[in-house]
Amino acid sequence: MTSTPHAAMNHRKLLLACGNPLRGDDGVGWKIAEALELDPASASVKVIITQQFTPELAEDLRDADTVVFVDASATTAAGEVTVVELNPAEAMPRMLTHHMPPDSLLKLTQELYGKLPQRAFAVVVGGESFELGETLTEAVQAAIPKAVAALQDIFAESYRSYLLCRTEQMPKR
């Protein structure tokens, strides 16, 4: 996991990207996050890049006003960028696995700290190939600028044009 220094801002912005950069398109979350880190206008965003979303990220969520989760999806069309607004899961999951879905992470944050980010979103890019390798497929590579633009708009608080649907969960793999 890598993270950028958290600049002191009135509105605290957090990007959580996950995926496996050794499994093809599963690494697109990393690439998107790294691209945002290079954007000077996004310097105030705290970026955390990790293989999986795990419970200790609840501490970072506690301190955020806006959070965006970024990941690949195996169920949406390759290269399709989907933005969904997230709510905390209604119930805690029964089992703790290596990976916590974002809505469960939000729920855990709420249970532990009694607070939540005011705004939570997921930016998901459909993947085509998840085979061993560090290269993204063409469609997924081409989707990165659109995903980054979506992030920039969300963090700039002009997200409404990208709000495609409202759901309580990210698209499942």
């Binding site: 996991m1 890598t2 993270s3 990790t50 293989q51 795990t54 419970p55 200790e56 609840a58 501490e59 805690m92 999951p93 029964r94 089992m95 703790l96 290596h98 729920k107 855990l108 249970e111 532990l112 700290y113």
Partner: protein, 474 residues
């Protein structure tokens, strides 16, 4: 009618395991097998690779304790190179190893085991998890989350990545520690102390509620293996190996990594891909032993840091001689965490830790090398053979969890015999059998390098193959 009870997979473990219980005609458990059903083959596919790639490759065995594999592997490589790494590199590696121990133990204690301890082993599985802990005792859950985060953040600051960092290499580390990162780590330490001491105080208050489990969870005489320093203080990164018996007598001492194979062998059972290490003079299974937090605290005379030493004195009062009950792994794990925090602080206060010379370089000077470290779960050994060009010819890994393999099997059998009666399955009984395994905090991903997920079902199967009863979880 005799029956076979299968728990597959076992929940709240790292990796995937299966427990098979065979009963007699009266329904009493007669045999128990804890098995791992998948293999990944790290000892094989590295053949032909340059030896200096091994740390990076071996780190991929596990996402929880990659630093341990990096360390043992790098040390094996350094034996091939015949180099001594710079002092600063050794200190920095020590910090990373301790930070990993802290975050791994935090996972084990707070996420995986505290649900049983706080909510009770008969609590509804729907709430007997970290989320249930968060609801019932949020300060305990928050402390666990914070400790795990502390350990991961320390690794990230030093090695740039929390998981599978490439910073530990043959010869040392890739870069030194700067003052800003050192200061950030030091600033996190007071909170880390507070969180582990809260957990220790809480645990000591509630431990007495589990006397039946304490008495019956893998509570038997065994030998113990671990690293110690010359002054008999606990050691995680260097030092030498010591083996003691159940009475505390030293059986083997000052064993170095290259001598490991001389004294220890590995047995194979047909029902599991996890091997069974044993002390050769006593054969298998008589030469089985335990490793990990319980072993470390039994072997060491002192922790070497003031707060952990105070806890060790109290811990050693649990028994006259070595503490044998595996339930006490939970307690030992918390003392490991406390020691880790103290030692990280001490190392960071050493100005020589900040030296910028952190790497020794050399080529192939020996055709064989071995390295040992204490992983969170116990002693870990990597042993390599190379050709004249440094290409890997052979590798053997002796994993901490594998060294507890025999003890886990015995523990499952004991627990099943004491807590399971009759032909009716229920969650509480089955969870106690699983809970025995959890006291060892096995990392099955390391031991067999397992992967994948399986649907959860528990079947009660007659010798005829008929399914008499079943439970599904998840």
């Amino acid at each position: 009618m005799s029956q076979t009870i299968v728990i597959d997979p076992v929940t709240r473990l790292e990796g995937h395991g299966k427990i098979t219980l065979k009963t007699d005609d009266q329904g009493n458990v007669q045999e128990a097998f804890f098995s791992v059903t998948q293999v990944r083959g790290f000892e094989k596919f590295n053949q032909g690779r340059p030896f200096y790639e091994m740390p990076s490759l071996m780190a991929r065995i596990c996402g929880i304790c990659p630093v341990s594999h990096l360390l043992a592997s790098a040390k094996a490589c350094e034996a091939i190179m015949a180099v001594e790494i710079p002092y600063a590199a050794a200190q920095l590696r020590r910090i990373a190893n301790l930070a990993q121990t802290i975050q791994s133990h935090a996972l084990s204690f707070f996420y995986l085991s505290s649900p049983d301890l706080l909510l009770g082993m008969d609590a509804d599985p729907a709430v007997r998890n970290i989320f249930g802990v968060a609801k019932a005792k949020p300060e305990l859950a928050m402390g666990g989350v914070a400790l795990r985060r502390f350990g991961q953040r320390v690794i990230e600051l030093m090695a740039k990545k929390r998981i599978h960092p490439g910073w530990i290499i043959p010869g040392g580390v890739t870069e030194p520690l700067d003052a800003a990162k050192r200061d950030e780590i030091l600033a996190m330490i007071p909170e880390a102390y507070a969180n582990v001491q809260y957990a220790l105080n809480w645990y000591k208050q509630i431990a007495g509620n589990f006397q039946k489990e304490i008495d019956n969870f893998a509570n038997f005489p065994s030998m113990f293996l671990g690293l110690v320093n010359e002054d008999e203080s606990v050691e995680f990164t260097d030092g030498s190996l010591r083996l003691i018996d159940a009475a505390g007598n030293i059986v083997l001492d000052k064993v170095t990594a290259d001598q490991f194979d001389t004294h220890f062998g590995e047995a194979v059972e047909p029902y599991s891909y996890m091997k069974f290490p044993f002390y050769k003079p006593l054969g298998y299974p008589g030469g089985s032993y335990r490793v990990g937090p319980l072993a470390r605290l039994n072997i060491a005379r002192t922790m070497g840091t003031p707060l952990a030493d105070k806890e060790l004195v109290e811990f050693k009062q649990l028994a006259d001689g070595p503490v044998l009950g595996s339930f006490h792994y939970h307690h030992a794990r918390l003392i490991d965490i406390l020691y880790g925090i103290e030692m990280i602080e001490r190392i960071l206060d050493d100005k020589d830790t900040m030296d910028t010379h952190v790497r020794a370089t050399a080529g192939v000077n020996r055709l064989e090398g071995a390295g040992v470290s204490e992983a969170p779960r116990g002693t870990l050994m990597h042993h390599y053979k190379v050709d004249q060009d440094g290409k890997m010819e052979w590798a053997n890994l002796v994993i901490a969890t594998g060294q507890n393999n025999n003890a886990m099997n015995r523990g499952v059998l004991y627990a099943a015999q004491r807590f399971m009666k009759g032909a009716k399955l229920n969650e509480g009984m089955l969870n106690r059998v699983e809970a025995v395994i959890r006291t060892f905090d096995p990392c099955l991903s390391c031991s067999t390098h397992a992967f994948g997920q399986m649907p959860l079902s528990i079947e009660l199967v007659a010798p005829s193959g008929d399914v008499l009863d079943e439970i599904h979880r998840g």
